[in-house]
């Protein structure tokens, strides 16, 4: 095919040497046509980034090396090029952008200089022409006021701006192929939508091909033409977008879809993939997914599956599509499917839909909570300004209910959580827990109440002391609060708790680093449960986890709530998790709650323009269902100097003169549904 730009054949890359070498990429073959967006989808550790780095020949030296295969760019084998000629390809014919815009730019050079460097190397421009080209590129990636921005330093730009600058640098060499390695993972959802839109537009304008590496099915649905699913270093399925989303063939792909939380799945536990990704140091005698596959039979463990074409341009690496083998499979494919579904349903009895009633009294009632951090400077550290991190938040959590607090990074969600737990003392407002005013408690009295409310953190790697055994970690709360005085009884209780979160007893005497991210998060949940809390604040507990692991944690949280009647304050930016788990939702913007109500009402009919924009920005799985992206102007304002009137007014597409004058008061727009916006004047 003449229009194939990049062709990878049987690419193999290893990290390390000898028998312990990790086969990070193990026989990947794919083709990318000119002007096409190819999405490489997979969970962490499946080898998708390694594939991208292999194309660029940028594997981490000296451990990583390419051990086989070919990478043909327009028929030229990149693996055979000299390093000098490869340098011209990198950044020239192939551009690359990385996940973390914060660390990809040099903080001591202006962004203009950094773009100019790339232009100079690959286009050889000098002087005025160079400056002109830099401004053109900044314009192209949608940075307003390019002349001024070119002279600024990276720290003066927001995360979204930095990612745009990274894209401008990658575009400087006018590449034919742009490799984007998780380009939006570190960004907020509204900014993610903008960056994806930008990539789509640039591809249309320049005709370059795009290799998009992501773990997010939603991003794939919105952007890709073709999709390749990777698992354990291999491509397991490849198809055009529409057939892939309509009918994924590989059991792994199907499970991935099933484990995405949605509103529709609320009534039952999410499908999970049992076990974990196999060690890539081993040689496989069968299918790599067999151990975790609900539909595996003997052949899967004995023979390595071959690549099967199931339709035009749709291939799968699975024995289910091998006509010769499938005859030997126990039962037809359909019945196996049903059995698998029955499995998950039996594993945890489904709570009835909407099983959590409105609940009697509110367990937690927060009123006008404010946390202001002083900004000190000068000789005597006088307070020069204040950061209005949380500025008047009111919410209530009923017994056995889940309230989701949603907002973009920096809006003050985590500060609310810490202020409720009295880890940060609030500046003003009241936090009543079960009728007791927590802000008034001090010392011993507060310590005694602490057993009732606990927290689960976002980063399972930072939330456990690496120098303590799991048993000691889980036990710490019980010991500190003097709940179970007897050591042996405490040990028994810890084992019980670990069993409750699905971990076995030997885990007790091991160290946190021996566990995977999902297992660590289970340990953190067990630690919180150890003191029999009634409220657990979950601060983005799944955002550092893969989607299949996220499903396990969400199922666990839901099951625990049904059994123990726990209440959750669930802090997240992931709206699909909210739709699956929460009863109520509160949307936060710059230290204040702008909309609050039952999940079904708010998600179905958002009233506040910010909520609307947030929902519109979330990429959906329904392929082709392109909702119009509501583009928000500019970046979230700084909480040091909030804009006058409504905080959202500078970015709001529907701002009115009154919005600049005063902050709107709350208006009830439905049962329990309240919004603070001038569009809905008091009823």
């Amino acid at each position: 095919m003449a229009d194939v730009l990049l062709e990878i054949e049987d690419l193999e890359a290893r990290i390390g040497a000898g028998p312990r070498a990790v086969r990070a990429v193990d026989g990947v073959s794919l083709r990318i046509r000119r002007g096409e967006t190819y999405a490489l989808l997979g969970e962490s550790g499946c080898g998708k980034s390694m594939t991208a780095l292999s194309i660029m020949r940028l594997l981490p030296a000296p451990a990583g090396r390419i051990t086989g295969g070919r990478v043909l760019l327009d028929g030229i084998d990149l693996l055979g090029l000299s390093e000098a000629r490869m340098r011209a390809v990198r950044g020239g014919r192939i551009g690359m952008i990385f996940q973390e815009p914060m660390t990809s730019l040099n903080p001591v050079l202006t962004v203009g200089e950094q773009i100019a460097e790339s232009v100079r190397i690959h286009r050889g421009l000098r002087g005025g022409a160079l400056r002109g080209r830099v401004l053109e590129l900044l314009d192209a990636v949608g940075i307003p006021d390019a002349r001024r921005r070119a002279g600024e330093y990276p720290h003066q730009l927001s995360g979204g701006m930095k990612q745009r600058v990274m894209i401008a640098i990658a575009l400087a060499g006018e590449p034919e192929l742009l490799i984007a390695d998780e380009p939006t993972t570190a960004l907020d959802v509204t900014i993610q939508a903008e960056v994806l839109e930008l990539l789509r537009r640039l591809r249309a304008e320049t005709g370059m091909a795009l290799l998009l590496i992501t773990h997010d099915l939603g991003v794939v649905a919105q952007t890709a033409d073709r999709v390749g699913v990777m698992y354990a270093g291999q491509l397991v399925e490849e198809a055009a977008r529409a057939p892939f989303f309509a009918d994924p063939r590989h059991p792994y792909s199907r499970k991935l879809f099933d484990s995405v939380p949605t509103m529709a799945k609320r009534a039952r536990p999410l499908a999970v993939i049992p076990g974990s990704v196999p060690e890539l140091t081993a040689t496989f005698s069968g299918c790599r997914f067999a151990e975790r596959c609900a539909r595996a039979w003997d052949a899967c463990r004995e023979r390595v599956p071959q690549w099967h074409r199931v339709a035009d341009g749709h291939g799968v690496r699975c024995h289910l599509y091998d006509a010769a083998l499938v005859a030997g499979a126990p039962g037809a494919a359909v019945s196996a499917d049903a059995a698998a579904d029955a499995d998950t349903a039996a594993a945890a009895p489904a709570p009835e839909a909407g099983g959590h009633g409105p609940g009697g009294a509110d367990l937690l009632r927060v009123r006008d909570l404010a946390v202001h951090f002083p900004v000190r400077s000068g000789l005597f550290a006088r307070t020069r300004a204040k950061v209005y991190a949380v500025d008047g938040v009111s919410l209530a959590v009923g017994v056995g209910r889940t309230v989701a607090l949603v907002g973009e990074s920096g809006c003050g969600k985590t500060t609310v959580a810490k202020a409720i737990l009295q880890l940060i003392r609030p500046t003003a407002g009241s936090v009543r827990f079960d009728g007791v005013e927590l802000t008034a408690l001090r010392g011993r009295a507060l310590r005694a109440r602490r057993r009732d409310f606990q927290i689960v953190f976002q980063d399972p790697y930072a939330s456990m002391n690496p120098r303590m055994r799991v048993g000691e970690i889980v036990e710490e709360g019980m010991a500190a609060l003097g709940l179970v005085a007897d050591r042996a009884a405490r040990r028994r209780r810890v084992a019980e708790l670990l069993a409750q979160v699905g971990l076995s007893e030997p885990a007790l005497s091991r160290y946190p680093h021996e566990f995977s991210g999902g297992q660590r998060q289970r340990i953190c949940i067990a630690r919180a449960l150890a003191v029999d809390p009634r409220l657990i604040v979950c601060d983005e507990p799944t955002s550092a986890l893969d989607v299949s692991v996220q499903a396990q944690i969400l199922n666990l949280l839901k099951g625990l709530q049904d059994r123990l009647g726990l209440s959750y304050l669930f802090i997240t930016h992931n709206l699909s998790v909210v739709s699956y788990l929460a009863d109520e939702i509160a949307v936060m913007y710059l230290g204040r709650i702008v909309e609050h109500g039952p999940v079904s009402a708010v998600l179905a009919a958002p009233r506040h323009p910010y909520t609307e924009a947030l929902l519109a920005a979330v990429p959906t799985l329904e392929a082709g269902a392109h909702r119009p992206v509501i583009r928000l102007e500019g970046d979230p304002p700084s909480p040091v100097d909030p804009p006058p009137g409504c905080h959202f007014q500078p970015r709001c597409p529907r701002a009115m003169p009154v919005c600049r004058e005063r902050y709107p008061v709350g208006t009830v727009v439905g049962a329990g549904h309240e919004v603070r916006c001038h569009l809905y004047p008091g009823a």
């Binding site: 507060l446 005694a448 602490r450 057993r451 980063d459 790697y461 930072a462 500190a480 609060l481 946190p512």
Partner: protein, 472 residues
């Protein structure tokens, strides 16, 4: 019987050795602490440095067991003891200690380094280089016999070293063979090829080099002054061996003084912040802005005045010198804790924001417990790296301070004193170079091996260096 003498620094050294022993026992029981140490023991350079350090430490510890010998003429009532305090090392080195010449003599010489007027038996006075009392005294014609005799002695030394080393290697290999159930022959092959868990061959080769050095100098030292003699005829080899203890004491006891200050103040400042942090920061900024030498001079002068006014407090000269050594350690510790304190404050500032500390706070765990359980264990790698890195700096600091005149007591054997003396020796003609050379050689050996060991420790413990395998 001998009368044991417990000098202050001896006692503290024993305490330190006991503390290290407890630490080793503790580390062996905790896998996450053992792992980085294993890394240290796998580092070839680290193992070689450790063997050399072990030799120094052995000499230092032998020199830290002090006692007074009974006087033989103690007939009248009760036992009486000599006023001279000796150590085990002194006893082992008795020939070196007692072979006192008139004045300077060059290494392995048989005659003095300067001419003296000697009255011959026939009554004439001549100015010649007189024979030494001990160096080469057994030779009849030094001019003819000296070199062959030295060669023979060296050969004997080499032979003896080979024997000892062979025995040591055999024992090590047999022990390894037993532990791993290898055939002795296979064990030998594995060790030679370096195919053991730890670089045993490196340790054996280093030990071999040390044994060779010790054996050759030991054989020579019986009849010669290997590194010559100093102005008063004292054997320089003896002096430099005695100096090892001073170097070790300064390097280790100073950290003993510095650590509690640095750790307690550093992590409390970082953890509590607010006014606690302000106070502690002011303390160390103030202390840091006073030149360290000035403080040391002040303290030593005060001590000298005290000792001059209370001569009765000290039974022996060595007790006086020891007190001054201890004081030097204390004052060096007080002036050097600020660097580590600053590092620990920064680390504690970072750790206090970590989720596991917040989780502990959410459980209502008390501050002291959080400091002890969550903060301290997670800064210990920094403490360890700093202590090992600082050691060599302190050994060098002693030499510099003593050279300036505010270091150890002039009667204490120390490399600083030797170098200080060498100032005049280098100014005379012909130059006396061997004191300086011997002090330099031994100090260089100690500091170099300490630095190499520190590198190995840092590689294993510093998470940023990528050697330490730990999560979080």
């Amino acid at each position: 019987m001998v009368k044991p003498v417990f000098l202050w620094t001896d006692t503290l050294l024993y305490v330190l050795v006991a503390a290290v022993a407890v630490l080793v026992w503790y580390v062996r029981r905790h896998e996450h602490l053992r792992a980085p140490w294993r890394e240290v023991f796998r580092n070839r350079m680290g193992v070689a440095a450790m063997v050399v350090l072990a030799a120094y430490v052995t000499v230092g510890l032998l020199d830290s067991v002090h006692f007074r010998l009974p006087l033989e003429s103690s007939a009248a009532g009760g036992e009486r003891y000599s006023g001279q305090v000796l150590s085990v090392l002194d006893l082992l080195l008795t020939p070196l200690r007692t072979h006192q010449e008139e004045t300077y003599s060059a290494p392995l010489a048989t005659r003095l380094y300067s001419k003296e007027t000697v009255r011959l038996p026939d009554g004439r006075d001549v100015r010649i280089y007189p024979r030494l009392r001990f160096g080469g005294a057994q030779l009849r014609d030094p001019a003819r016999d000296r070199l062959p005799d030295i060669e023979r002695t060296i050969l004997r030394g080499v032979g003896f070293a080979l024997l000892v080393w062979g025995a040591l290697a055999a024992v090590v290999i047999l022990v390894l063979a037993r532990r791993h159930r290898w055939a002795p022959r296979a064990a030998l092959q594995r060790v030679l090829a370096g195919r053991t868990d730890y670089p045993v061959h490196v340790a054996l080769y280093t030990a071999g080099a040390l044994i060779l050095f010790a054996s050759v100098t030991g054989h020579l030292a019986v009849h010669y002054h290997v590194f010559g003699t100093d102005k008063v005829g004292q054997d320089v080899f003896y002096e430099t061996l005695k100096s090892i203890r001073t170097g070790l004491v300064i390097g280790t006891l100073t950290t003993l003084v510095m650590l509690p200050l640095a750790i307690v103040l550093g992590i409390t400042a970082g953890y509590f912040r607010s006014w606690v942090d302000d106070v502690i920061q002011y303390i160390y900024t103030t202390l840091n802005s006073i030149p360290g030498v000035l403080l040391i001079v002040g303290a030593i002068l005060m001590l000298e005045v005290y000792m001059a006014n209370h001569p009765g407090d000290f039974q022996t000269v060595i007790a006086r010198a020891d007190l001054r050594l201890l004081f030097l350690c204390i004052i060096l510790g007080i002036t050097s804790w600020t660097g580590l304190c600053r590092l620990l404050r920064g680390e504690a500032l970072k750790l206090r924001e970590l989720d596991y500390v917040q989780a502990a706070q959410a459980f209502g765990v008390g501050h002291t417990k959080i400091l002890a359980r969550h903060i301290l264990p997670n800064v210990m790698h920094i403490v360890l790296i700093t202590v090992v890195l600082d050691f060599s700096g302190l050994v060098l600091a002693e030499a510099v301070l003593t050279y300036v005149g505010v270091g150890v007591d002039p009667t204490t054997y120390s490399w600083g004193n030797m170098i200080n003396g060498a100032r005049l020796e280098l100014a005379r003609d012909p130059v006396v170079w061997w004191s300086l050379a011997a002090a330099f050689l031994f100090m260089f050996g100690l500091v170099l091996s300490a630095n190499l060991f520190a590198d190995a420790v840092r590689d294993a413990f510093d998470p940023r260096a990528g050697g330490g395998r730990r999560g979080g």
